[in-house]
């Protein structure tokens, strides 16, 4: 190899490197642009909601019921209480069923059996089904049909529970799978039974992921409008549900009803209700982060 050739090769290398660097920079710029655009849209949206909704955010908004006769005294008490009840109900329903299913599929199920594979594939698919379809399911099987309990709070909780159940199962399975086999082997080697291993070693090790997943799924349930509309939640009721068998509403329904209204005062109250919903969601996601940091295990 002559000196000239070496020089040419080196130059080629530099040029190649430069081109690569340029491409990398372009791509970087593109990514920042994409993030910026998304962020800008978010800021604009939240900003507009805040401008319209913040003036209405007062104690009265939490203590009063929606009012048609005197719109300026409207509040969202029934919707806020309804959302809290719905979340609790959904959690009560989804946590035991979801975790038990995940444990069965990860720890007990024989994956060579066709029915277990069928369950797995179905759960994956169910997680991708649009929420309104769950609403129709709830209407046909819970509100009418076999259960026939009517458009009541329990029906809302069960429908939302069904909606987030696949996601909870998937997240719980991931966390259980992340527990190293050595933990199980160690426990079994020390004479623990299968159940003792699962309940005292695997579950506690996986709880950070499970808890985070459950809370994030519940946040999704809170923001759902379509399934509740389909099963027939009430619009702007002036009472809180006093039992599982009572009519109910939730914040997204209240927001939807108010934005539809010809009276602009209600549209502003929809913005206020959106802020309350956002705060609840932020609070829940904050709790999820704290719990994850606290319980997270590193192997």
């Amino acid at each position: 190899m002559t000196g000239a050739q070496i020089a040419a090769n080196a130059l080629e290398g530099i040029r190649h490197g430069e081109r690569k660097r340029l491409a990398a920079q372009l791509f970087n710029g593109f990514m920042y642009g994409a993030i910026g655009l998304a962020f800008l849209a978010l800021v604009a949206l939240i900003g507009q909601t805040a401008v319209k909704g913040l003036p209405g955010l007062s104690l009265q908004f939490f203590t009063n019921f929606p009012s048609r006769i005197n719109p300026s005294t409207s509040g969202a008490q029934s919707a806020i209480v309804g959302t809290v009840y719905l979340t609790l109900l959904t959690a009560v329903f989804v946590i035991p069923v979801g975790i038990a299913t995940a444990l069965y599929l990860e720890e007990y199920a024989d994956k060579t059996r066709w029915w277990n594979r069928l369950i797995e594939v179905n759960i994956q698919n169910l997680a991708a089904v649009p929420s309104v379809v769950y609403g129709i399911l709830g209407l046909a099987f819970i509100v009418r049909g076999p259960l026939g309990i009517g458009p009541v709070l329990l029906a809302g909780g069960l429908t939302l529970g069904l909606l987030v159940l696949p996601v909870v199962i998937i997240v719980a399975r991931e966390s259980i799978r992340a527990v190293p086999p050595s933990i199980r082997d160690g426990a079994l080697a020390l004479g623990a039974t299968k159940w003792q291993t699962v309940s005292r070693q695997v579950l506690p090790s996986a709880r950070a992921g499970i808890v985070t997943g459950v809370i994030l799924s519940l946040s999704r349930a809170i923001g759902e409008t379509a399934p509740l509309l389909v099963i027939g939640a009430a619009s702007s009721p002036r009472f809180n549900p006093s039992g599982l068998n009572d009519a109910f509403t939730a914040l997204p329904i209240q927001i939807f009803t108010w934005t539809q209204d010809p009276n602009p005062q209600f549209v502003d109250q929809a913005a206020t209700a959106s802020i309350v919903l956002l705060l609840i969601l932020l609070g829940m996601n904050g709790i999820a982060i704290v719990l994850r940091n606290r319980y997270e295990q590193r192997w």
Binding site: G232, R238, F239, Q260, D261, P264
Partner: protein
């Protein structure tokens, strides 16, 4: 708390007043009722039902009234399945809906509660005073490319129109397209749509080619900032007013609004009291709901219908 006491006191005084003047069909404001009532149906009747529930709760706080807005058809589907007690309707029940009710053994009574009218509004600068239903159809029908009123009548203004109308979710939209364009939902595409009637009013008054349609009470409230255009349905030009909407002579853009109550439901004291209070207070409730109230004759007819329903109650 203090505020609460004051409003309770006001409600009591009002209730006393009502029962003193009315004293009619089963005013039961003395006894305390409980239970729950399910109301659903037309989105036009929805604000009325909501205001009615609110005013009823002022002296009967323990009755839970859940009001939904599934639309007239969706409301009847639930009503005839026995899922609701009262169904709001902006038209009479259709034979096929009535057949479902009959199959499920739901007998019912319709009671008029208010009137609804749609006003055609124009910016005063357009100088238009009256249009026929055929001309309105020319402007608003599917595929219309009318840009100025001079295209439908050479004598009218050549100013470029800016059209305003309600969005497709609105009961007003369904009603207008059905009556004027002949098919529910058929509309021209190019117009500024908003569910907010006040936006439409602002739009029409803010543009010198402003032209649109929306609920009569909003047009009336706008005063002389807009011109309310009369409609000629073959019987001369008639402008919407409380009187012409009430008697239906402002055709075809006025209609009565109903509540259908099942005879099974009205046997329950809370439903009976709710409907009695709602008809008694229908004038002020219609005001809160921005609808046109009933005439005295309509009110009397509504009370008779209620009495029939109570008599048939099982």
């Amino acid at each position: 708390m203090k505020k609460g006491l004051i409003s309770i006191a006001t409600a009591l005084v009002l209730a006393a007043g009502v029962s003193a003047c009315g004293g009619s069909s089963g005013s039961t404001s003395a006894e305390s009722l409980s239970g729950s009532i399910r109301v659903d149906g037309s989105s036009t009747v929805f604000p009325f039902a909501q205001a009615a529930a609110e005013s009823f709760n002022q002296d009967q706080a323990n009755v839970k009234i859940a009001v939904g807005e599934s639309g007239t058809g969706g409301g009847f589907a639930k009503f005839c399945a026995g899922e609701t007690d009262i169904s709001g309707a902006s038209r009479e029940i259709k034979p096929e809906e009535a057949a479902v009710c009959e199959k499920n053994g739901i007998t019912y009574q319709s009671v008029q509660v208010a009137n609804d009218g749609i006003a055609i509004a124009a910016n005063p600068a357009l100088g238009v005073d009256c249009l026929t239903t055929a001309q309105l159809k020319q402007i608003w029908n599917k595929g219309s490319s009318i840009n100025s009123l001079s295209q439908i009548d050479p004598k009218l203004s050549t100013t470029k129109l800016s059209l305003f109308g309600p969005g497709t979710d609105s009961g007003t939209f369904d009603f207008f397209t059905e009556k004027i364009n002949g098919e529910k939902g058929a509309t021209r595409e190019k117009y500024a749509a908003s569910e907010d009637d006040n936006t439409l009013v602002t739009g029409v008054q803010g543009d010198k080619g402003g032209f649109g349609y929306f609920g009569y009470s909003y047009a009336a409230a706008a005063g002389d900032k807009i011109t309310i255009v009369g409609v000629d349905n073959g019987k001369g030009c008639i402008k919407p007013s409380v009187a012409t909407v009430q008697d239906g002579s402002y055709a075809p853009l006025s209609r009565p609004l109903f509540m259908y109550v099942s005879e099974k439901a009205i046997s329950r004291p809370e439903v009976k009291a709710f409907l009695a209070k709602t008809t008694d207070g229908s004038v002020s409730i219609a005001g809160s709901a921005k609808l046109v109230p009933m005439t005295d004759a309509q009110l009397a007819a509504a009370k008779t219908q209620l009495a029939t329903a109570e008599k048939n109650a099982k």
